[in-house]
Amino acid sequence: MNAIQYEAPGSVEDAVALLAQANGEARVLAGGTDLLVQMRAGLVRPGLIVDVKKIFDMTLIAPDDGGFRIGAATCGERIGANNSLRAAWPGVVEAAKLIGSTQIQSRATIGGNLCNASPAADSVPAIIAAGGTCTVAGPDGRRDVAAGDIATGPGQTSLGKGEMVVDIRLPARPPRSGSAYLRFIPRTEMDIAVVGAGVCLSLDEGGVCTAARVTLGAVAPKVLVVEAAADALIGTPVDETALQALAAAASAACEPIDDIRGTVEFRTKVAGVLARRAAGIALERAGSN
């Protein structure tokens, strides 16, 4: 096995150039909390590692057109400490805060969580529920991609050679809207989600739901956007009947696998329970802003 080349460029352009010119497999290194573990286990063997943490722009959280622009190399701890982001998109912040222990939080990034393309990644259902988009930079310049279109399957992304995610953008929060993310793990902390559920909903002045997005993690090869579950809420006051319909729709949408963390039947059931509970929290939040 050959030595691994390590580079830490200072700009997105330099990083893209390095990635594009690499001969063998090249990987972006953000927090390294997935990549280094996978390398240790022999699952990936890159010849080039491009460390993006030195790209200042990629570690910032900035206001953006009423919403937010979160650098892809921003760690969960930073995201958790940003009060205005938390006020606007609590679902995204609580999901990012769930990634790993304190010993991981100060490094693990939101971009890494997205690009690692694990169906169980915690921040992804929340970002998609919030309507997040990404800026992807590559040899041919920049393009916008919906956050839900980055991962294509477990460990697979739509990124081409030389491409990387620069930032994740969250829109301005519509009035009377709330978001929430819940996950289920069999231990109280530090584990991969058995199921994750993100909900984002908006109400009109009369308390009737006008828009909703419901997402599920870890129940399919990639994060699911469950339109039937959203439809169950829209046009209703998000009452017991609507919540029950949402839970049923969420369960119905699941295509999970059986593994050590849970059976198909269990994941299907939990998806409904969590989506419903997350909707309850989102509703409460929507009512209070």
């Binding site: 286990a41 460390d51 790993g100 490094r107 069999p186 530090m190 584990d191 059931k269 329970v273």
Partner: protein, 916 residues
Amino acid sequence: MNDATAPIAGAEAIAFTVNGRPITVAAAPAKRLAAALRDDLGLTGTKVGCDAGDCGACTVLIDGAQFCSCLVPLGRIAGSEVTTVEGLEFGPLQAAFHRHGAAQCGICAPGLLIAATDLLRHTPAPTEQEVADALGGVLCRCTGYRKIVDAVLDVGGDDGGKVPSSGAAVGARTVKVDGIAKLTGEARFGADAVPTGALWLKAVRAPYPARFTVGELGPLRAAHPGLVRVLAAADLPCNAFGIYPELRDQPVLADGLARYRGEAVLALVGDRDSLALVDAGSVPVSYEPIQAVHGLDAAMAKDAPRVQADKPGNLLVEGGVVSGDADRAWADCAALAEGVFETSAVEHAYIEPEAGWARRTGDRIEIHVSTQTPYMDRDETAHVLGLAPDQVRIVPTTCGGGFGGKLDLLVQPLIARAAWLEGRPVAWVLDRPESMAASTKRHAARITARIGADDEGRLRAASVDAVFDTGAYASWGPTVAGRVPIHGCGPYRLANVRARGRAYFTNTAPAGAFRGFGVPQTAIAHEALIDDLAASLNIDRLEIRSRNALRPGDRTATGQVLGDSVGLAACLEALLPDWHAALAEAEAFNAADPRSRRGVGIGCMWYGIGNTAPSNPSTMRLALSRDGTLTLYNGAVDIGQGSSTVLAQVVADTLGVPVDRVRMVVGDTDRTDDAGKTSASRQTFISGRAAQLAGEDLTQRILRLVNAGADASLDLDGPSLTVTDGGARHRIDLTALPEDADGAVLAGAGRFDPPTTPLDADGQGTPYATYAFAAQMAVVDVDLALGMTRPVYIHAAHDVGRAINPTLTEGQIHGGIAQGLGLALMEEYLPGRTENLHDYLIPTFCDMPGITVTLIEQAEPLGPFGAKGVGEPALIPTAPAILGAIRHATGVRVTRVPALPHRLRAAIRDMERANG
């Protein structure tokens, strides 16, 4: 088991600051910081427990923020400031850890201290939740986290750690004799003191049970010039070892047949970097899968293939106890309860993977290793190498957790053989997946049990049939099969008992010793049945246990008449107020919260201290040198539970000197005597008694020198020893006395072998000299929709005879509860699937409930100052109590552990369906 570890070529000079000192390391930028700190900078205070971000043992501060150093490439930290445990001053935080006994084995302490330093810097007065959050990514397998939380909440608190006055050490919360080194990073664990220039060893392991052939090794050697030797089965003079000399069925290296995934087939020896570059796929071994036997049903099937050719029916061993006539007594029972209960294989998950190094000194071999059993290591390694036992010296390193898992040979014979042949030191440190695949497990079990009672709830008869999956080799299987029938019906008066234990071979990693030797599995069964009887007879669950609890003078199922130290009734009495309060509180809680339900459960246990029936002596020696140093030559390794401290307390009070006068040589087989294994909760009782006898012997010799009476007192002040006998004072000038070969001027020795008798064909006899007893109650909340159980409170009452050190005793109980909780709720070892600490879950800070410990002291006359043991008893009642609480909350009788959420949810669903 993997090789993509360290393709670390292309060194660059990387400059950063470590503990305030600017340094430059020549290394590849992709090398991990943890490895650079340990291997390049010699800062071995930073530990590596998983190399994957899961355990937090490697936590350091980087520019003031805590992070796992195993996940940081060196290139990333150029110009940064790194702080390791060696860079922390011994301040109020460390003092609090020391005072609270927060480091047991201590392998987790460096990471915890760093994490706590980070927390306290910005949150000087944290809440309990803040402590748990900040430290939550650091796993500890020993403490159950309670003492750690207590310590962090008590930084700057009163220093109660003062040395107790002469004669008052026993019963005092003295600090650990080996505690400080564990808090500074100085303690040397198995991987920490490898000599420079050592060769390293790497095992090639079978990917599945298989017949295999080794091909031509020439190309491999040519590709890796740093590879100096490849050891195969034929290179071992005697390729067999075992726990029982008459049952040496396990090869050091498999010989053409690997019976389980993870069994070693070859050992590569070479320089470390070269070995790191050897890809498992490039080693020419071809495997032909065999028809493997997995699980008890397959092992017991009529036409099952044999795991070991000479073991028909795959039966390793069978043990049993028969007393009275259970078959006749059933008819007299007003209520019968029966059931089948299954438990999973469980991994020890000590944070320190197996590690050690060996060197040859002339015609002897010296092995520095993390172990629980230096003397067995010596004898078995000598056997494998074809040497006499006295040609092998075992020098135990600090042990980063054992729990029974370091009672089997693993690294010892191979590093010894390689060092013997090469004439150079050879080291081996297992990585986490390899450790998990190769090491022993708790026996998976199936227990079929039946208990009957009269209409007042008095137990009349019980039968237990326990079968255990013992894996591919015997290991400690016979011990489990022997111990279980004795304890199988619980700590209750029972005249009619039929109990049987059998262990079957399968093609999985050998099941070995794990805290409790099968008794924790069995307790799950008998306690569930007692709950059944309580329900059908409408008797309170604590009350029915009280009615049946063994008491002094009772006869056990093996016909042994118990002495005075039987404190179960007192344990139950201690729980009573809490029990009723918790039941009332649960009722109120359930009326208010529809989402989760609260339940309360109880579990009891008894546990024979020491090995079952055969002689298991311990010998301790005590020497006084000319300068007044008192040294205990102590062959009992301290694996974190605190035996060294307890023995020092015993010796101090026996002689009447302050405890800090007692120095110690621990475990070195050249310098100590055989104290037996650190297992079976035996060291406090057996070695403690031996140490007390050694102290009495030394005292006698001193008194005889000056013709003083037996109640004279000693005062040791440097080279001057004063004996006060009534009004008379005699001064002994130690410098004037002749020295023996060890430099001692006065010495005493003590040997204790607990009085036991072998069991007859019906299991009748006195298997143990004394028993520990305990009862625990648990309160849990179950989220009904998710099947998720959260223990909220545990009250543990333990009869320990005498708590020689209450802090350490509580620490054992907390740690046992954590492991019992893991057994009940989350831990399940699946070969190939849970071979790391992110798929194999052990409890973290936030999983632990509040705990109250009540120590009951029904003195055992044979024990030192009345002490018995607590190591294993701590764990046994926890799972039954939690499972009883789940049942109280949900109505579901759990028959398979762990009660994973999906299993519990399925059971709740079935019950809901059945109830319409």
